[in-house]
């Protein structure tokens, strides 16, 4: 996946001289996750810059550069590091178009690695998409592998709004064939049905997409798996159309239960498709705890394919939301 990201950025830099890249160790070191491989050599130090460890400075600089004529792609090494620069994304980048009566645009991309699974501990393992949910003026999408990372990155760079692209860092080494070129661009705001099925709609995002697919592939039920891809805006019609056919909705989230992104999906589907639902909408999430460090604990934190399969089976047979694995522990 990291090669797909590097390639997408490189192609966009070829296409448009105003695309620039900066972040911590993205130039000489080519990115801690090798997501800017070859960019410095190809485009030089004026378009590919290492920054100090100053997220506020370089996200703010991305806002100013974007408003005045560049198309910056800024890398936040771990999504948690955006915390120190949150203002620049949700209060500055997101509002500058509005606050100029539409006369300034902010065509910037903030890329960040997210998620659990690599043993980085609780301050380097969250997804945190919910920090930004519901922020007017921002777009947000999450890659689920090399192909989607390529397609979303290109779409984000071409978009004239501030776009956040989250990259599950367990997937940087994931390999798959990627068709390159404009046909592979994934428009922001569109979901993909990645597995057709008839019994239940399973909506997943980021690294839970492969979990949901694995669960569905060996299940006794026929699951339709949707890779949501974009959270802001999200593709209501693809999800609703599927739920209207299957009559069941399960959402598989990496984030903690309270306030997770799935609450938004569940709320809309409950409102729009209540009459077709044959069981409660069910959210499969992580528990409301920090991401634990120990390998066994961290593995348990993220919903596993076996757990998803079991939860969906229970939902379909009982027509009741099954309890979560941790309920007897808290």
């Amino acid at each position: 996946m990291n090669q797909a990201i590097s390639l997408a950025i490189s192609e966009e830099m070829d296409r448009d001289a105003s695309v620039v890249v900066f972040g911590e160790d993205v130039a000489v070191a080519e990115g801690p996750f090798k997501t800017s491989e070859g960019l410095l050599a190809k485009f030089g130090p004026e378009r590919v810059r290492d920054t100090p460890i100053s997220e506020t400075a370089f996200l703010g600089a991305a806002v100013g550069a974007a408003m005045t004529g560049l198309r910056p792609v800024a890398e936040i090494m771990f999504i948690e590091f955006m915390g120190v620069a949150f203002d620049q994304m949700v209060t500055e980048a997101a509002l500058m178009h509005y606050l100029s009566g539409g006369r300034y645009e902010v065509p910037m991309v903030m890329r960040a690695s997210v998620g659990s699974g690599l043993g980085f501990g609780c301050q380097h393992s969250q997804t945190l998409e919910r920090w930004m949910l519901g922020t007017p003026g921002l777009k947000l999408a999450v890659a689920s592998g090399a192909r989607t990372a390529y397609g979303l990155t290109k779409a984000a760079i071409r978009d004239n709004n501030p776009v956040v692209i989250l990259e599950p860092r367990t997937l940087y080494g994931q390999r798959e064939n990627v068709d390159i070129g404009d046909e592979s661009i994934i428009p922001l705001g569109t979901a993909e049905v990645v597995r057709a099925g008839t019994d239940v709609t399973v909506v997943a995002l980021g690294q839970t997409v492969s979990v949901a697919l694995e669960a569905a592939d060996s299940a006794s039920w026929s699951g339709e798996v949707i890779d949501l891809l974009s959270l802001m805006p999200w593709d209501r019609s693809t999800v609703l159309e599927s739920v209207r056919r299957t009559g069941h909705l399960v959402i598989v989230e990496e984030n903690q239960r309270s306030g997770g992104w799935g609450t938004e999906i569940a709320s809309v589907v409950a409102n729009e498709a209540f009459g077709v639902l044959r069981a409660p909408i069910h959210r499969i999430t992580a528990p409301d705890v920090p991401v634990p460090y120990g390998p066994e604990l961290e593995k348990r934190f993220l919903p596993s394919a076996a757990y998803v399969q079991e939860q969906v089976s229970s939902l379909l047979s009982t027509k009741k939301s099954p309890s979560s694995w941790w309920e007897e522990l808290v």
Binding site: D16, V20, E46, R47, R49, T51, P52, S54, T56, A57, F58, L59, G60, A61, A62, V63, G64, A65, A66, M67, T68, G69, L70, R71, P72, V84, D87, Q88, T91, E92, L95, M96, H97, Y98, L99, S100, G101, G102, R103, Y104, E105, P107, P136, G137, K139, I157, R158, D159, N160, N161
Partner: protein, 338 residues
């Protein structure tokens, strides 16, 4: 912003160049700023301004000196105490007043308010209501000039209070590391909101902070418009010629409280009077009278004309409808892409 400024309002681009042209025009713009700020306070007292507002009486020389030292093609990141800068850069009084009153004639059609003035025609980025936020944004605008190899300059205007927030320090460091064409202009008015500088800030001279970033700096009398203009012009020339960023500290004073309800009881006895004795408008008018560039009758006529223009602007503003409901749904996301 098709539904904002009405055609009879002089456009900001026309007004932008006036302050570059003559001392008389600069004096007149300073008088205009003072009158608009006073008028905003009156309108506030009448209940015509909702929320809050931050005025800048006493700091007019910094705004006008900055405008006189720069070009319309430069970019300025300013703060919520921004009416004076917007006027100095050319935004017409009716457009400023209109935004403060939430009217359609305002620069944002009334959805922004006092703290959010913006005018791309004169390089005024939306003014920042978060302390310090505009500093790294100005660094980004300067990065754009450097990347495109043009000789533009970005200016970041902020108060002394902003120099204690991380964004300021990160922004200055990044500008220095990348040697960018940006001028940081601190309006040191001695108070961060209600707190005196010495109770919140480890240095007396904000300019000292430039040393941490190996950056050039200057302290200038912020009540002397010629001195401000000259100081910022030196920094701008350095930036345009590839010499990198500068921190300019203008020592100034706001005659009013931080915001609408603040009567500034925290001032030291006699402090306000001391500063009023060095009023930037009176100082500059006195200089122009002494040099013969202006005579007392012309000065009186100028004050009258400005008062009349502000009265007319106010009439236009009060005749302009408040922001229309559909406006709140506009300009949230751009529909376009590259």
């Amino acid at each position: 912003m098709s539904d904002t400024a009405s055609p009879e309002v002089p456009q900001s681009t026309q007004r932008r160049h006036e302050v570059n042209q003559s001392p008389i025009a600069r004096l007149e713009r300073m008088i205009e700023i003072r009158l608009v700020e006073d008028r905003i306070q009156d309108l506030f007292a009448q209940g015509l301004v909702s929320g809050t507002t931050h005025t800048s009486q006493g700091q007019e020389a910094v705004a006008v000196g900055l405008a006189a030292a720069t070009r319309a093609t430069d970019f300025v990141c300013c703060t919520y105490r921004g009416h004076g800068h917007a006027l100095a850069l050319g935004m017409p009084p009716a457009v400023v007043l209109g935004e403060v009153l939430g009217r359609q004639i305002g620069c944002m059609g009334g959805v922004g308010g006092s703290m959010h003035l913006s005018d791309p025609d004169v390089g005024l980025l939306p003014t920042f209501a978060i302390v310090g936020a505009g500093t790294p944004v100005a660094v980004g605008a300067a990065l754009q000039f450097a990347t495109k190899k043009t000789d533009g300059v970005a200016l970041s205007v902020f108060g002394d209070g902003a120099t204690n927030i991380g964004a300021f320090h990160e922004g200055l460091n990044l500008a220095a590391v990348w040697n960018l064409p940006v001028v940081f202009v601190c309006e040191n008015n001695l108070y961060g909101e209600y707190s005196p500088l010495e109770s919140t800030t480890a240095v007396t001279d904000i300019a000292d902070r430039a040393a941490s970033y190996a950056m050039a700096s200057e302290i200038v009398d912020g009540q002397d418009v010629d001195a401000v203009q000259a100081s910022i012009a030196r920094a701008v020339a350095r930036a345009r010629s590839g010499g990198g960023p500068t921190l300019v500290e203008a020592k100034t004073y706001r005659y009013v409280g931080h915001s609408r309800s603040d009567k500034a009881p925290y001032r030291k006895d006699g402090e306000l009077e001391q500063w009023l004795a060095r009023d930037p408008i009176e100082l500059f008018a006195g200089q122009l009278l002494a040099s013969g560039e202006l005579n007392p009758d012309a000065l009186d006529a100028m004050r009258h004309r400005q008062l009349q223009l502000i009265d007319e602007a106010q009439e236009r503003v009060l005749a302009s409808p408040t922001a229309a409901i559909p406006r709140m749904f506009e300009n949230i996301l751009s529909p376009s892409h590259s």
